[in-house]
């Protein structure tokens, strides 16, 4: 019996439900398209509708994971840890983006893609703290980091391209995370489930 694996089951469950990441990546791409006012996104109502659609798509995703893999409630400690990670992540993303390239007087105004760099760093940190980095995490997020850091992003603000790159990376990472999730917890065939008689 691997004690560490059993104790990390909850973290694996929380971090590796990759279909949610796929939905999240789609949201990033939609945001970029809305910023560009590309095609139908020139209409103000299209983006909110897209957000609602993606939100609605998360419901069957949640149901899939809940019904085939169960439900958990994380401990208060994990909840606080998660909240702190999110808060740090947002602060890093905003701060680093502004520092690397923004209209602020104190910005370094480097020819890099600040969104890509900061989001890649946040994801690497998040996975490292949460479940430990896997090969696909390093490959995907380090690639985004390198692409963002290459000094070719001079000229117009590359933030929207950064959002698209981050969105694509999130979707690809989500697919691999879900594969790892299935390897960890088994395929989604229905177990011989409830009516266990326990506690009756």
């Amino acid at each position: 019996m691997q004690r560490a694996n059993l104790e990390r089951a909850a973290a694996h469950y929380s971090y590796l439900r990759g279909w949610f990441s796929v939905a999240g990546g789609l949201l990033f791409i939609l945001a970029a398209l809305a910023n560009w006012e590309a095609g139908p996104f020139q209409h103000a109502w299209v983006f909110p509708l897209g957000v609602v659609g993606i939100g609605a798509a998360c419901l069957p995703i949640a149901r899939f994971y809940n019904e085939h893999y169960g439900r958990i409630s994380v401990s208060t400690r994990q909840y606080v840890r998660g909240a702190i990670t999110v808060a740090i992540g947002v602060a890093v993303m905003l701060g680093l983006s502004s520092l690397l390239r923004s209209q602020a007087d104190w910005s370094l105004d480097l020819p890099v893609n600040a969104i890509a760099i900061s989001f890649a760093l946040i994801m690497l940190l998040s996975y490292a703290v949460g479940v430990g980095l896997r090969a696909h995490h390093v490959l995907i997020w380090a690639t985004l980091l390198v692409v963002g850091a290459v000094p070719v992003w001079d000229g117009a603000d590359p933030s929207n391209i950064g959002l698209v790159l981050a969105g694509v990376a999130l979707m690809v990472s989500g697919v691999f995370d879900h594969r790892l999730f299935v390897r960890t917890f088994g395929p989604s065939r229905r177990l011989n489930l409830e009516d266990s008689g326990v506690g009756a």
């Binding site: 004690r3 909850a10 169960g70 409630s73 409830e194 009516d195 326990v198």
Partner: protein
């Protein structure tokens, strides 16, 4: 031979299936039957049996409810259960350290 009662193992928890259940629950507030089945690899009958024993011993609390009109069994460690699983793993660590240090004089009651 000198007996080291500080190394007594908890027989109820030490059974591999129950040890797995308690260890999984120790990192959570609560989990349902399906999650426990997935993570421990136990059959439905085995898991039910172990949970019944743990509940009878006051180590877990089981709540049966309906989620989306389907029955759902939710399990959480009690405070005593958390204490005992933590203590049990500490005991196992002590045993491992003893065996690595080659202590010939410790007899381990189980």
């Amino acid at each position: 031979m000198e007996r080291n009662d500080d190394l007594t193992l908890d027989r109820l928890i030490h059974e591999p299936g129950r040890l797995a259940i308690m260890t999984v629950l120790s990192s959570l507030r609560d989990a349902d039957f399906v999650f426990l089945q997935r993570t421990t690899g136990l059959t439905k009958g085995n898991l039910s049996s172990h949970l019944t024993k743990l509940e009878a011993a006051g180590l877990v609390e089981i709540v049966k409810r309906f989620v989306r009109k389907k029955p759902n069994t939710n399990v959480a460690l009690t405070a005593v259960g958390r204490q005992r699983i933590t203590h049990h793993w500490e005991q196992l660590e002590r045993l491992r350290n003893l065996s690595e240090s080659g202590d010939e004089h410790a007899a381990v009651p189980v």
